[in-house]
Symmetry: C2
Subunit: 402 residues, 2 copies
Amino acid sequence: MACIGSGRLCAHVEKLCQFGHFTQLRRKVSTTTCVKSRPVISRTSGTLLQRCQNKTNTQDSRINLARATSTMQTQMPGSLPDYQIDPYRLIEDDLKDIFDEIRLELINNNTQEELHPISTYYFDGQGKAIRPMFTILMARAINYHNGRNDLSHSQRQIAMISEMIHTSSLLHDDVIDQSDFRRGKPSVNVVWSQKKVAMAGNYILAVTCMMISRIRNDDVTVTISQIINDLVQGEFMQLGSKETENERFAHYLTKTYRKTSSLIANCVKAVNVHCFSLFISAQINVGLAFQLVDDLLDFVASSAAMGKPTATDLKLGLATAPVLFACERYPELNAMIMRRFQEPGDVEKAFELVHKSNGLEQTRFLAKKHCVEANKIAQSFAKSPYQKALMIMTDLVINRMK
Amino acid sequence: MACIGSGRLCAHVEKLCQFGHFTQLRRKVSTTTCVKSRPVISRTSGTLLQRCQNKTNTQDSRINLARATSTMQTQMPGSLPDYQIDPYRLIEDDLKDIFDEIRLELINNNTQEELHPISTYYFDGQGKAIRPMFTILMARAINYHNGRNDLSHSQRQIAMISEMIHTSSLLHDDVIDQSDFRRGKPSVNVVWSQKKVAMAGNYILAVTCMMISRIRNDDVTVTISQIINDLVQGEFMQLGSKETENERFAHYLTKTYRKTSSLIANCVKAVNVHCFSLFISAQINVGLAFQLVDDLLDFVASSAAMGKPTATDLKLGLATAPVLFACERYPELNAMIMRRFQEPGDVEKAFELVHKSNGLEQTRFLAKKHCVEANKIAQSFAKSPYQKALMIMTDLVINRMK
């Protein structure tokens, strides 16, 4: 059995780029779209967080000014429409103990006391739990489609595994990127040494492998191994850049598939190895939309709302969708992209130009397009509260503020 | 099915320590034992290696003096006895393409060109290939014991996996320890950035997971997952130290089991999930002996012979068996162990004291004891060239010079 390999998606993305899809897309985009918002309460986590925020605030004064005068305003009054179903409430029983159970797995397989707090640091219930949410909703929607109204033990385990693989990669990211804070508290690498954090990341992956093996389904093992491989490939792609505009878009979208979509999509494959490939396509679209919005929020949301520093991608030398779109109006960005925003003033200048351009609106338009595609597929499922909740979740992906 | 968990071994090791096993052992050891040697040809690898060696040579002048006046001399003329069977020749057909096939796996699962040279850097045929050697010999010996004279595809895959898990951990070790050179050439982290090397380590592990899943045997997956977990736990244990002498020995041996023995022993479990636990015990003994000799060689062999710097453990703050044994005669080592040899002169002083003590002989005696135990078990196998070769390999573990 083949799982959703990267090759097919890459070919698809490259085809889109060759045919000038993104150039056409840019022309279609309206410049008036706004991100809907919910009031956000900032969380604090003691003096260390305050220190990180102060440091970032000082560095970012020019960035904040650009944000204030941006074509895309956030933090606007108003709220999301009242949906009849609350997806979190709907699967509350499936979700509520997931973090406790992950912590228990990490404690039970370990004899080194100090590994406990490090490996469980991000399993504190403060994450968005997007991956287990989508995994459980898709599992239940597919089960319902197949005439069942349950969630099997293995399917729930896969939801846990989805969050564990993601978190393991966060630990490695934090070490590699030397992050300051995440999820409203000091990053794990600020609290413990790089060595220990890197090993804790490996440890989470090791326990994940043990959990996968306990599911005793070879197709699941193959599928989840592909996710781990895709994550590494995506991370590696992020270190490189391409010469031409279209090549860069293909590179960016393939990287996004590998770093984000593959996990969300292949977990759906894992919860039902015989499901239609269309269902997996839906989740590829959701994954791409999720990351596009993440890249957008890095430009428009405040650090307090995000619980982590913003404009991080530029500081790390990464050109994400908003910058790539902004290149059309401001070609001077090309040189900055090639030197990975390393010269003094590059980050601030690029940030300003993105806000002056319609790169943010184009990014949101593209994300929305992927969500529409995902919801079109979801409509082909048997009607159920889970199908409805999936569509609401897709809306939340577009409208989220962090 | 439970695989060889760490708990049982730990309990065993702790029991030995509680009953003063190591104190008795120290008294038994003769101070006249010498390590047998083969003439060693130093490999060079261009100017970068030369630079690393020069740097190490300057730092190590006092260490070299201590080595020259040590109670344990190495590089003595002479050679190993002529065995009737050459284990490498015996399984040449099984072994010869292993590195090519590993490289192929790493190339086939990857689209990022730069990942190729990094992830295949240590699969250059210059390693000792101890893990695939033991895995294949044990597989063939067990098959023969069960009336078969073959090696299955899965068993050979597990031999490849054993080398890949080990190499993945080498990449992470090199990043964490900031190594200079290994296997006679600049370490991988000297040639590429830490980020890329860390990711390449993850990549090797990801491909390993994919290979495990293709074997489609859940017991194998469980067993190999345990190895990955043990490796992380062992690595983490290495960062800590214990207050009392006996606690330290238990800690050291458990760490050694997890970092080295578990891989060698559980691969035997993986090649035949129904094999007697006695066969696995044999490999636990071999693994412990292998690491004890490695720790010994770090004190007595030259950098050129080892292909990597020596006295590395002390420089990394690690107290291995030779130091732990030397504490009895030189209790001033206890304070140095507790401060992880961080004060100026600690490394050189500890190195001198180990050579003045009989810590090296005691280490070798303990390694030999484990080898005798392993060979006693091997004698219970059905007689075959593989059984004989296993016993020869165990001798080579004791007598190796690198």
